[in-house]
């Protein structure tokens, strides 16, 4: 990486930054220093305060206290426009692109001065060639893959010649090959003196890419390190405070199939969605099957088709516990023994403005909480109290509103609710996304316990580490197609990567179709 004289002024320095939200202290006296041409990692668990800090640097959020220095001069960053004027660019985790507009139009919106369309297109092509990031200026964004969209985001930033580039969890949506390409680009930028602030919780990448790291935990800086001298384990210990526990999967013979998809195809109702093609999947009692894949490849459609939330024209078969289930709605499928924990906790898995007791009735109506058309209030309260206790939901009682719980606690409640309905099949989407590590472990253990009790469990997740940890077998969903299932130990990371990029079944070829 780059070497620099020791007395050069740091590009960016944060001192004593504090930011408070109504229910949490997101930043607690944070100090951060990034040098010129340095690739600096900001490391921490979900919820450690990384995003807040980056929003402060980019001017989206004002700190309640603290000092920001740019090239050793004190500044106040009041808005993204001002941040850009200083020379700070940001590539967002959840892309800030407009689907119905073209690449050039999107970039034009992000620029502060109006540039004529032809000139802009030309400049886009120049930057694109300079850094090896192919983009087409006149394409509509909704036609583009996730990897392509990220490239647009990066080009958008580079057009403004930033001196500091913030990358917020850039690789959560990329295949392993695309990640390598991204690293090349970042190294090229660093060699030109651009500082990079790299936010992530992926330790392998940070060890491979960064030359300095600040570790955050619960809003506080717990250490500054040089990843080149650290191991994955030592960084993890700083991040988490304890050793990473491993879940134990005792080998077990799976039983009869509980969930079956045969040659299942379904067109997406959403014009911007993905069509499912000829999916073959079997989940048997007593096993956990995982489906990996970058979001946007049909996960949403597959989950909705399985849960019954979408019913469109389809071909092929879907069976739950042996019964044809395609024409059934979610309530009827629950009566067959299916439960489902969706990706969105608030607004889909729970009603934010209702209490936990009322939220128990949401799916509990199929399991005894409603009788003769009347809601059984007493039974619902008892059920909720027990669920809260059994799943260690903290900071809430049965009357708390769902929206007042933290992400981890709400997820524990929802998982607990579904588990306690004694299902025969359980489907979980992104089980530990945005959840603190204690809750994540509890949820993983709950899923494994279910499996040991003979339930068929299907987990759909973007987190490869999680899937390999708890699943008996894993398949990859790419472009609406599902690969065959492999045992958890059979695949390497690179093979999964190439499956994700669409080379179904040919996992010894590395086809870069990103």
């Amino acid at each position: 990486m780059s070497s620099r004289p020791a007395n050069q002024k740091p590009r960016l320095a944060l001192r004593g930054i504090v930011k408070r939200y109504p229910s949490t202290l997101a930043s607690d006296h944070v100090d951060l220093t990034v040098g010129v041409g340095q690739i600096h990692a900001l490391l921490g668990e979900n919820g450690a305060g990384k995003s807040t800090l980056m929003k402060i640097v980019y001017g989206l959020v004002r700190p309640d206290a603290g000092v920001i220095e740019w090239n050793a001069e004190r500044v106040t960053i009041a808005s993204p426009a001002q941040a850009r004027r200083l020379g700070i660019g940001m590539v967002f985790q959840h892309f800030s692109l407009f689907e119905t507009l073209t690449v050039a139009e999107n970039i034009s919106l992000a620029m502060d001065e109006a540039i004529r369309p032809n000139e802009l297109a030309a400049r886009i092509e120049v930057v694109s060639a300079q850094y090896g990031i192919p983009v087409e200026p006149h394409r509509l964004v909704h036609n583009m893959s996730v990897g392509e969209r990220q490239r647009v985001e990066i080009v958008r930033c580079l057009l403004q010649s930033p001196r500091l580039l913030i990358m917020d969890e850039p690789t959560s949506v990329l295949t392993p090959q695309a990640v390598l390409k991204l690293f090349e680009t970042l190294r090229q930028l660093a060699s030109e003196g651009v500082s990079i602030l790299y936010i992530s919780h992926k330790l392998d990448e940070i060890c491979a890419l960064c030359d300095s790291a600040t570790v955050l935990r619960a809003g506080r800086v717990v250490g500054v390190a040089d990843p080149r001298n650290e191991t994955r384990q030592s960084l993890a210990r700083m991040m988490v405070g304890t050793e990473l526990k491993k879940c134990e999967l005792r080998p077990r013979e799976p039983g009869i199939p509980r969930l079956e998809l045969r040659d299942f195809s379904m067109a997406s109702l959403d014009p911007f969605g993905t069509t499912l093609s000829e999916i073959n999947l079997t989940v048997r009692e007593g096993e956990i099957v995982g489906i990996a894949g970058v979001s946007g490849n049909g996960q949403r459609e597959l989950l909705a088709a399985l849960s019954g939330e979408i019913s469109g024209r389809h071909s092929g078969e879907l069976r739950i516990c042996g019964q044809p289930a395609a024409p059934l709605d979610p309530a009827q499928r629950r009566q067959l023994g299916l439960t489902f924990v969706p990706e969105e906790r608030l607004g889909r898995g729970s009603v934010p403005a209702m209490s936990l007791t009322q939220n128990a009735v949401l799916t509990g109506s199929n399991f005894g909480l409603v009788r003769n058309g009347l809601v059984r209030g007493g039974a619902a309260r008892a059920f909720t109290r027990e669920t809260i206790a059994a799943f260690q939901v903290k900071g809430a009682n049965e009357d708390s509103l769902a929206q007042s719980l933290s992400g981890g606690n709400l997820q524990k409640f929802i998982v607990g609710r579904e588990v306690r309905f004694a299902p025969k099949v359980m489907i979980v989407a992104q089980p530990t996304w945005g959840v603190d590590i204690g809750a994540a472990q509890l949820i993983h253990q709950a899923l494994i316990d279910l499996r040991d009790r003979g339930v068929a469990v299907l987990v759909v997740s973007e987190d490869l580490e999680e899937l390999f940890m708890i699943c008996d077998s894993v398949g990859v969903l790419a472009g609406g197609r599902l690969s065959q299932l492999y045992g958890a130990g059979e695949l390497t990371s690179a093979e999964v990567g190439s499956l994700m990029s669409g080379a179904i079944g040919k996992h010894d070829e590395v086809r870069d179709r990103v």
């Binding site: 607690d28 109506s365 900071g395």
Partner: protein, 370 residues
């Protein structure tokens, strides 16, 4: 946009106190505005307010009028509120009111003498069914054709009113009525009995109160009511739970139509006594305001309908005494609704002085917050 000295900040939990206080505060603001408005119009403001709010109800007759006007408001608003809670926006209550009047009135005119003691119940049921049928049109169009129920139900209001003017002008016109467009006067047998001497309040008022109780029970205790509430608060969650959106739409609109239709027949079989082109001073629309002021809760709606009824009476009162146009009641109603919408903000947000708190203060506060 601007740098306010005060900052709006989201509360950690919606304030229950403000929920109740907001309508009260809005009413107060409306009174203050009225005070100023009367003063600007050159009338003694306190006198005018007294004429508007107090004198209409200071007699038995006046009190009866209060309940009389509150009844259709209450009935319509209860049905509308059930729909609004499910995010189904039935704006066409006025049209369903009209259809209810026509269907119930038809029963009265043509079968009034043949049904004996069943006449009144038959009329009421016919009215409710007529209103519900009219509301079925937007329901069908929304559930099958995904059209906005706001626009469809509204268009149907105009159609319903035109239909009424035709029906009293041509087929049902009173032959002895000097060519005025109106139907025969209803016989005593088909009129609703009054409640007490000296007032025009009919048994429709207690019926409305029963409806309120039924609505409360429905929303808070039944599963169907729960499903409607979930659909309004989080449609994705309702889908996740398997609650049929179609069912909810039909239920919400049919209930709204039925209560509005019932209100319609109660009006024409009560104070009006016949079918005529103009049977409502905008009850169907005012009921929307009632529903909001009552915060979509049956108890609130009962109180709010009394308030808005008073606003109507006040309008008539100042027209007589102070020679102001009765349209002033429309102004009061609109203003009240505006204030309420503004006050809603404070249920979810609160004002804070925007100053840079020191880090120590910030931490101290966070530690105290549960």
């Amino acid at each position: 946009m601007f740098d306010w000295p005060l900052r709006l900040e989201k509360r950690p939990r919606p304030s229950a106190a403000m929920r109740v206080a907001a309508p009260a505060a809005a009413t107060l603001a409306m009174l203050v505005t009225g005070y100023i408005a009367f003063a600007l119009l050159g009338k003694n403001p306190l006198d005018a307010l007294h004429t508007y709010f107090i004198s209409p109800i200071s007699s038995v007759y006046g009190f009866g009028e209060l309940l009389l006007k509150a009844t259709p408001l209450m009935m319509c608003a209860l049905g509308l509120a059930i729909g609004f809670k499910a995010n189904v926006w039935n704006i066409g209550a006025e049209g369903q009111f009209t259809l209810g009047a026509i269907s119930g009135g038809g029963v009265a005119l043509f079968w009034g003498n043949t049904l004996g003691s069943l006449t009144l119940p038959a009329m009421l049921i016919a009215g409710a069914l007529g209103g519900a049928a009219w509301a079925a049109i937007p329901a069908l169009l929304r559930s099958r054709f995904h059209t906005s129920e706001i626009l469809v139900s509204l268009m149907l209001v105009y159609i319903a009113q035109l239909f009424l003017s035709w029906i009293v002008r041509v087929p049902w016109r009173d032959p002895t009525g000097f060519n005025f467009p109106q139907s025969k006067v209803f016989d005593d047998a088909v009129l609703l009995p009054t409640l007490f001497e000296g007032g025009r309040t009919t048994i429709a008022f207690p019926i409305a109160l029963c409806l309120a109780a039924a609505a409360w029970f429905f929303l808070s205790r039944t599963f169907a009511g729960y499903r409607l509430r979930v659909a309004g608060l989080a449609p994705a969650a309702a889908n996740y739970a398997g609650f049929s959106e179609r069912w909810n739409i039909w239920l919400a609109l049919l209930v709204g139509g039925a209560t509005a239709g019932l209100a319609g027949i109660c009006e024409v079989a009560g104070p009006i006594g016949r079918l005529q082109p103009s049977i409502s001073p905008g009850y169907g629309f005012a009921a929307i305001i009632v529903a909001f002021i009552g915060r979509l809760h049956p108890v609130g709606i009962v109180l709010a309908s009394l308030l808005l009824s008073l606003l109507y009476l006040g309008g008539e009162s100042v027209q007589l005494e102070l020679q102001l146009p009765s349209a002033v009641s429309g102004l009061f109603q609109g203003t009240l609704l505006f204030y309420l919408l503004g006050a809603e903000l404070f249920v979810v947000h609160r004002l804070r002085r925007a100053r840079r708190e020191t880090a120590a203060e910030v931490i101290a506060e966070v530690v105290q917050t549960p």
